[in-house]
Amino acid sequence: MGEALPVAGRERQRAVAQALRAFLPERAVLWQEEDTRPYECDGLTAYRKLPMVVALPETEEQVQRILKTCHALGVPVVPRGAGTGLSGGALPPGDGVLLSLAKFMRIVRVDPVARVAVVQPGVRNLAISDAAAPFGLYYAPDPSSQIACTIGGNVAENSGGVHCLKYGLTVHNVLRVRGYAADGEPLDFGAEALDAPGLDLLALIVGSEGMLAVATEITVKLLPKPPAARVVMASFDDLQKAGDAVAAVIAAGIIPAGLEMMDRPATRAVEEFVGAGYDLEAAAILLCEADGLPEEVEDEIAKVKEVLTRAGATRLTVSRDEAERLRFWSGRKAAFPAMGRISPDYYCMDGTIPRKRLGEVLGFIGEMEKKYGLRCPNVFHAGDGNLHPLILFDANDAGALKRTEEFAAEVLQKCVAVGGTITGEHGVGVEKINEMCAQFRDAELELFHAVKRAYDPLGLLNPGKAVPTLARCAEFGRRHVRAGALPHAQLPRF
């Protein structure tokens, strides 16, 4: 819940709002609670805070002046796109300015010859592909929230999607980011060429969770839309066999456009919801997509069928047409809204593990279900080893939230223990900041802080996110994960 500001806070609020009103129109500076309330959280609703002031600039010059003003006043600034993030990266500062880039919705330029699009950060991910479609092009990274999430947020989080094993993450598909440092100094990383002189600061800005700079213009690569795509749906009577089948596909020299896995509790939940035609008797199903020239697709589908049969698939179906392909995917994309139907609350994890440890980690999650008395269906990006186990719970049930927290903490611990990571694509934000203490040692955390200081010596941009202080790590020696339910429950996810 948001909290009322003390008197000193109200004076500060008035001073900051006034300073911003000197160059922003009235509608672009929000400070009354009824106006700022919608900004109290992002996609991770367990964490809420009323921003002191919300600023809604429309021009780069306004962004620069907001940053300069806040810098001069020593006021923290938190950038925000659509607010669909899942780690609390856009959680507002109670004593600062929430900088919404929602009005930066312009597609500046699509160059179909050089295959690039120059867009503002508030442009939705899918809107880029829509703008490129008349030229037979598209923007490859496709987080499942792509109808709502913005490219600025994608850059901040280095978002992935279901096609990133073959087509890469945001970092592989962004050529240039222009923006401003915390003190309002203009910055320009990358180029429309394939590289730029000096250190690769473009790589550093992508995934930096809004802590190093505020992006105001992003240049992305566009790819030709594959003329053909088909998906194989395979059933397995055993989770381990399905995991081994994933390795077998890779071992056969195939990089599928998408390679996703769902276990039986997940397929049963979504089948009831969307009727995708899933095999409800299977312990797990795999979706394996091939795309490219028709000749390539036929060749790859034949190989995939052979490999999966040898790996013990009990049923194989290949999509016959585009409608059927989309229907097979519809269940996977609707997995999260479907969970919302069978459980009052659910908590999503984002660990990534080496694929060979899949069976072991799934077995571990099964044990945790028994230990905590909570169900945990699994959907995941099998090709990348990126797991999204979903713990189902009822927040109204006393103790369920705490059990969920402990369950999740044990699973993330397991991910790190098998050589993986606490977050594959959702970011650290505020949610997994304590887990960072398990992933990194003090020396690395110190270096992260030094990198932050190089860009933002006063520590005003998105303070307290992504990188814990050493003192915090000392305090949180024990792993601790907070639960959070998702808003926009109908939005396809992950």
Binding site: L187, G198, A443
Partner: protein, 351 residues
Amino acid sequence: MSADLRERIRAAAGRGTALRLRGGGSKDFYGGAPRGEVLDTRAHAGIVDYEPTELVVTARCGTPLAELEAALAAQGQMLAFEPPHFGGGATLGGCVAAGLSGPRRAAAGALRDFVLGARLIDGRARELAFGGRVMKNVAGYDVSRLLAGSLGTLGLILEVSLKVLPRPAAERTLRLELPQAKAIEQLNRWAGTALPVSASAWRDGELHLRLSGAEAAVRAAGQTLGGQTLAADAANRFWTGVRDHSDTFFAGDAPLWRLSLPSSAPPLELPGEPLIEWGGALRWLRTQAAAATMREAAARAGGHATLFRGGDKAAGVFAPLAPALARLHRELKAAFDPAGVVNPGRLYPDF
């Protein structure tokens, strides 16, 4: 072994003397003139972990690139960015530090795109680990990718984890006759289609195109594009020549300029005939033209120019940075190497 390397760096930092990090020395020519006492990385060698079905290889910096590539080839895999070797002896550490990619870059991605994790000894002799051995990892700033192309100025890259890919089932190289402007136009047009072009090189009115992928797709694309098909060994020789600069274009002492441009930039009005790679995005020139001339031409076209080999390095090897970026470079250098011990001057004179 890494303890010895740390000790050397700690001692140098204590004395405030420069260290020149060096593997096989195959890229001694590249960047600002090396200075300081040589710290040879070659003893810290070997593949640490390679599981083909994970698509990840982890190896120590001194591992010969040829040895690493042979281990991948034995499993039908490759470094998809096709790194240059520039003669014998190239090591993985130098490869990542230089950050250079070969003919497949425009289609498959650059070296930095394949970096998943790294261990580093920074200029304060701290051993640090970033990223990991998994495909997706967004915990912390992406320092391991920042090391790609850092020319050892942030520290000694001890160990690297790279994403690897399967070798294509089929490859075919075609030779077509096209004037420069037409070749650039066609390359951009083809790149906007699903044609499986994995490399391109234009020179003297001749365009070489390499197609990679499923046999049927390569055959079909070959028929669409026409031209002459090269025999497999001639094709391999050709692409190795372009990759390692053993092609005749790169012979002799004339300064070699590397221009990185938007792929669709029209032919530059500069003296000399270029060799054009990466679908138009990389243009090599042999010229005595002044650095300022080259840099202005590249900047006008939306890119940058590097004095890649030879010539007078006094005018700077790499394009100068805008003041804001130059400041960030200095601040980052101070974060990693406050005493300026590792590879000073290799990237920028004050760095």
